[in-house]
């Protein structure tokens, strides 16, 4: 099996109550590819950077099994740059700078060697670019997942609806689910969103965990209660990376494996927030990941006997 990720590879500059970074490596595609690399060793990336992007980081990705034939390096141009500042509660942030640069006219070229990829993860990008990728794959992947955000609902609703009809899994946060469905109740939101195309919906609730809707089934995964969230940047993409990385290794995409994939994604996201940017994700061991997953098992497992002792 193989996984193709399409998403931004970027520079971020982040300010949190705990500190401030200069330009560091960020981007949805980066977080997804790194997180999934712990599970899926056969990976491809479609993205674009400028000539200012460090060769070291590309080497790091290659070492992790990420094929970079689909990563365009635009000479004379600059890499996408985002800068943001988190508020004290770490749940909200202000965007300070967004420089689209190479992302402004991104044409997602699919190398011929990428044809036949079984799993496709579309990171948050314009729904038009996301759909272009699907259309350029000669054979439909076994599973297509996508992320999106409020911005595209505001400015590209019709395009978003067209793309949504083509995907199997939508991974968004609670605020986005509410805007997309115009429903406050996430149960009602899930019903509406599933009628837009995706048969599987994952709603991320940050520190409150994540919900999986699949047919009539619902699964709830907690977030790990943490003493500190150091930097939430990329946690959602890391979740998606762990989710798709794990899912692309299993025999069958069914409810039981989707539940496991959500737990794996949650575990990966819990590492991401421990340090700035991708730092913590670069040094994980298999044992650390298994131990973290076990913490999730311990956090929610209970053995129910009859509630009422007659």
């Amino acid at each position: 099996m193989s996984l193709l990720t399409v998403g931004s590879v970027a520079f971020d500059a982040i300010e949190t109550p705990f500190g401030k970074t200069d330009k560091i490596i960020g981007g949805a595609g980066t977080f997804i590819a790194i997180a999934s690399s712990y599970f899926q060793k056969n990976q491809r990336l479609v993205s674009v950077v400028g000539e200012d992007f460090p060769q070291d980081t590309l080497d790091d990705l290659r070492v992790r099994g990420v094929d970079l034939q689909g990563l365009q390096i635009k000479s004379g141009e600059k890499t996408f740059f985002w800068s943001g500042k988190y508020h004290n509660d770490m749940n909200s942030r202000d965007t300070l700078v967004t420089e689209l640069n190479v992302l402004e006219h991104f044409d997602p070229i699919i190398p011929s060697s990428y044809q036949g990829t079984e799993f496709l993860m579309l990171g948050n990008l314009s729904p038009t670019v996301q759909r272009l990728v699907i259309e350029r794959l000669e054979e439909r992947p076994k599973l297509i997942a996508m992320d999106t955000m409020n911005f595209w609902m505001d400015i590209a609703w019709d395009e978003l609806m067209k793309t949504l009809r083509l995907v199997d899994v939508l991974i968004i946060n609670d605020e986005e689910a509410r805007q997309l469905s115009k429903e406050f109740s996430l149960v009602k939101a899930a019903k509406k969103i599933k009628s837009m195309g995706p048969k599987i919906l994952v709603i991320k609730k940050g520190e409150h965990g994540a919900l999986l809707f699949h047919g009539e089934d619902v699964f709830f995964a907690p977030a790990l209660p943490l003493e500190d969230v150091f930097d939430p940047t990329g946690a959602g993409d890391t979740f998606a990376g762990g989710f798709m990385g794990y899912l692309s290794t299993v025999e069958e995409v069914n409810f039981e494996n989707l539940k496991r994939a959500i737990i794996v994604g949650s575990a990966m996201a819990s590492f991401c927030v421990e340090k700035f940017g991708t730092e913590r994700l670069m040094t994980l061991t298999d044992r650390e990941i298994e131990n973290r997953v076990q913490k999730f098992v311990n956090l929610v497992q209970f053995d129910m006997i009859a509630a009422i002792n007659a």
Copy 2:
């Protein structure tokens, strides 16, 4: 085993986006006693009402096994009355009216037949009244749990600290835990609060579930994702009632049984919000409760195999 509940028995008038009630039956003591009555048949209640309180409701409580010798009925006085209006998100509300009436000078008299009660649940009341109850019990109960609220932290901090030192379990919501501990992280908050006295802490997060802290162990129980929350009034007290009702029937208060008690409390709270006030809680069957508990099992259970397929 037996359970003594101390808490308000009151009138509420509630407005939600779904409708509006006249004066209906409310009060922490009422919700706790009704919810726990499905599990614990040997119950006592210490509270106070005015002569305006309906005899029918008292009969309903007696039928449920609640001994009312400790319920004072003050002739010529009026029952505590609260009126509130929920906002559209159902997570915040405005208090429209608070008439303390009989609660203003409440002296919690303990009937001699209540001495020796093994489990004590102190609903949200002034910490001075809560402590008075503990002091008036000749033999310390096997387990003392209490609820409190921001109001007492604002006006009776020292009294609250004295009472907290005497209890085993504190059941509060996330906002209250943050105010009590002056910590935003609930993990840090839990550590601080446990140093104030309670060795067991339950933090209710409303639609986001509940956390149990016990020694070094943490357990997370989800809330049931619901299409509609009709009226959240009393959900927290119903949770506490289910929790203590169940716990007072088990052999030993250990982590495994505390986890089950949290799930039972969550299940009972999920019924409470389906109708106004105590309405839904009055008609439950054992089978409905067991089925609802099973929904919680299904919502979170997964069978993790190795995350990483080597």
